[in-house]
């Protein structure tokens, strides 16, 4: 494990250096919020922000991605045959990703890599990415990462952890990949004071988490009992079935596959999709198993807090980033729903 300290005014030169071999993605101010974008020399990345509006999951799963291409020209011999487009996957570094979003990548990996199938697109992007995380000195009031197996300085999914010490950053490598990029970095060895300050900041950051969610009873709840609970209709009333929660969520990965063609050339692409949309489960026959809004709302919460738990036995598919809480247009709060699910006891009384 290697560690280096770099003063903030020298950080841009570190990024420049990395840019020689990697595409560098850093947090950039876009009008009123922060997004991860490919960092160009001309702009200042921001390091004082709560979290980016969209999570950096797009680095592994772009919102629109071409999977295959084809020709429809009947004169060519490969007409109608779908092929993978030749593509180079450049090395990329994402600097400033929050620990919640990094853990979310690890959670998502279970979906894209299984014993039987490997999503070669996601995996190639993942393998060419170095994750340099930024610990949260001041988590938001809506962050509940510590309740779901994560935390403001959690290391899962990161190659390097950066800690903001005020006028300088302490970089600590956590993996071989991390050690390699730190090796090239021009920085000082951390002093004992640096380490002490880092520990203090870490403890303070964790203390700053005020939002707590209990889900300890959910794993032992019977799946169908939770599914048939009476509170779903109430939870779902205000929902407008948009894609905000799913698109902003770092652990949502569902996508749609579509073909588009123009003239004799075409592509098969995938686009982010949402279980909130009515079309998501619509059969060709017209039958829709989740035709009602409450069924779709129930699906999202059951998937994140119960199905994923039962399927993989390793916690909920939520990292407590709080984006859905802050940006749901109608203030549906996953923390409240989790409590409802956690406390649910089926009423046996006859009314």
């Amino acid at each position: 494990m290697a560690a280096k300290v770099v003063s903030k005014d020298r950080l841009n030169s570190v990024l420049s250096h990395w840019r020689k071999n990697y595409r560098v993605y850093a947090p950039v101010q876009k009008d009123r919020f922060v997004q991860f974008e490919e960092w160009e020399d001309r702009g200042e990345p921001v390091w004082e922000f709560q979290n980016s509006r969209l999570s950096p999951k797009f680095l592994m799963e772009p919102q629109s991605e071409i999977l295959l291409e084809f020709s429809l020209d009947p004169r060519t011999e490969d007409s109608g045959i779908l092929k993978e487009r030749e593509r180079v996957y450049p090395l990329q570094i994402v600097v400033g990703i929050r620990p919640c979003d990094a853990k979310a990548v690890e959670l998502s990996k279970r979906n894209f890599v299984s014993q039987e199938y490997t999503d070669s697109y996601w995996v190639r992007r993942y393998e060419t990415t170095v994750f340099v995380g930024l610990g949260c000195n001041r988590p938001c009031p809506t962050c509940f990462c510590t309740s779901v197996g994560c935390g403001p300085f959690h290391e899962e999914g990161l190659d390097v952890l950066m800690i903001d010490l005020g006028d300088r950053f302490l970089f600590r490598s956590l993996t071989g990949k991390g050690r390699d990029i730190l090796a090239e970095m021009d920085g000082e060895t951390p002093s004992a004071d640096d380490e002490k300050l880092a520990l203090q900041i870490r403890e303070e950051g964790e203390r700053h988490i005020v939002s707590r969610v209990s889900w300890d009873r959910i794993p032992s709840q019977d799946l169908m009992t939770l599914f048939d609970a009476g509170f779903w209709e109430d939870v779902a009333f205000s929902c407008i079935n948009c894609g905000t929660c799913t698109f902003l969520c770092p652990t949502c990965w569902c996508f749609d596959i579509q073909d588009e063609s123009k003239g004799v050339r075409g592509i098969r692409m995938r686009n982010w999709d949402s279980c909130m949309f009515p079309l998501f489960t619509l059969h060709g026959s017209g039958h829709n198993p989740r035709a009602e809004k409450f069924q779709r709302v129930r699906q999202r919460f059951m998937h994140k807090l119960k199905y994923y738990v039962d399927k993989y036995g390793d916690g909920v598919a939520c990292v407590g980033c709080g984006r859905c809480v802050q940006f749901c247009p109608v203030n549906i709060d996953i923390r409240e729903v989790a409590e409802k699910m956690n406390n649910y006891v089926r009423c046996e009384c006859k009314v």
Binding site: L54, G243, F277, V330, I332
Partner: protein, 316 residues
């Protein structure tokens, strides 16, 4: 605005107890600052959950369509105009809804308040007679309400409900001397290239989440045109042309019906000023047909009817 909360609870309680309505749609206090959640209650005892303040900008008329019950609903000026539009468009019948009208002096713009607070963490926002107080761990700010209103509220000319069965307070003075279309004229004055860039920049953050469409009470089509596959009118990716097509066409579908309630802008998770599209259509309809949406139960919107003297210069 806070003073209306008790009256709203009282009205809801009475309506449910008497059986005049089967359900009542209102707001409950949200779990984060400056947000409230729409709720539906069936039991008079739940009326105490109802809340009202200047963060009630979500358009409750959005929740009325496709329901068969008799509904009570809280509505300010613009939202009541959407209820009128629903009735005119046969989405609900007049006797199905009991409107609890609320005179409104404007809703708060959550994003603007975050900006004024320097994007620092906000613990709470309190409403006072004269304005608001933003409170956090280590700072406090005061602002006049005028400076923190939603953009559509700042230029509102229909603050009082236009349809109501119960009114929770005295009518407020309507604003006069308001220029509603200054920003639209600025775009109209642009040369085509500049205008194209303007719209491309406007829509650049769009992630096709459809929060704008779904928050809008006018968008109640069983299958939206973007979701059709036979034929597929619009692509589903974030291709900028497809995205612009969606926004332009949606605005056209709202022409003559939009009440500028701002629900679309409130809902957008990436802060797009969606009203830049719809307001242009509102201006055109006003200038061409002298029409404002949702003011009369007896007239159909201009794109819904034909008159021999309808303007035709745009038909070439």
């Amino acid at each position: 605005m806070l003073k209306y909360a008790d009256k709203i609870r009282q009205e809801a309680r009475d309506l449910l107890q008497s059986g005049e309505v089967d359900v009542f749609v209102g707001f409950r206090k949200g779990t984060i600052p400056m947000m409230n959640e729409p709720i539906l209650i069936r039991d008079a005892r739940d009326a105490e959950k109802l809340h009202w303040d200047s963060n009630c900008g979500i358009n409750l008329a959005n929740y009325l369509t496709k329901r068969k019950e008799r509904m009570g609903v809280v509505a300010v000026g613009c939202h009541s105009r959407n209820i009128v539009t629903h009735i005119v468009e046969n989405q609900i019948s007049r006797d199905q809804v009991v409107v609890v009208g609320v005179p409104c002096e404007g809703m708060l713009d959550r994003r603007r308040i975050h900006e004024l607070a320097g994007r620092r963490e906000i613990l709470e926002v309190l409403e006072e007679e004269s304005g608001i107080v933003i409170r956090s761990h280590d700072f406090e700010q005061r602002h006049n309400k005028q400076d923190v209103l939603q953009e559509n509220c700042a230029i509102c000319i229909h603050r009082n409900p236009v349809i109501w069965d119960r009114l929770v307070g005295e009518a407020v003075k309507e604003q006069d001397g308001i220029d509603r279309y200054e920003d639209i004229r600025a775009v109209e004055a642009m040369a085509p290239d500049a205008r194209w860039s303007f719209f491309q920049q406007l829509i650049e953050p769009c992630i096709r989440c459809y929060a704008c469409r779904n928050a809008c009470p006018l968008c109640y089509c069983p299958t939206c045109f973007v979701d059709e596959s036979r034929p597929q009118w619009v692509g589903k990716s974030i291709d900028p042309v497809d995205t612009l097509t969606f926004h332009f066409l949606r605005a056209y579908h709202c022409a003559g019906r939009c009440t500028d309630c701002g629900a679309c802008e409130r809902a957008c998770p990436v802060g797009i000023k969606v009203r830049r599209f719809t307001k242009k259509l509102e201006k055109d309809i006003l200038e061409l047909y002298g029409w404002e949406a949702g003011l009369s139960l007896d007239e159909r919107p201009p794109l819904d009817r034909y008159r021999p003297d309808d303007p035709e210069e745009f038909i070439k």
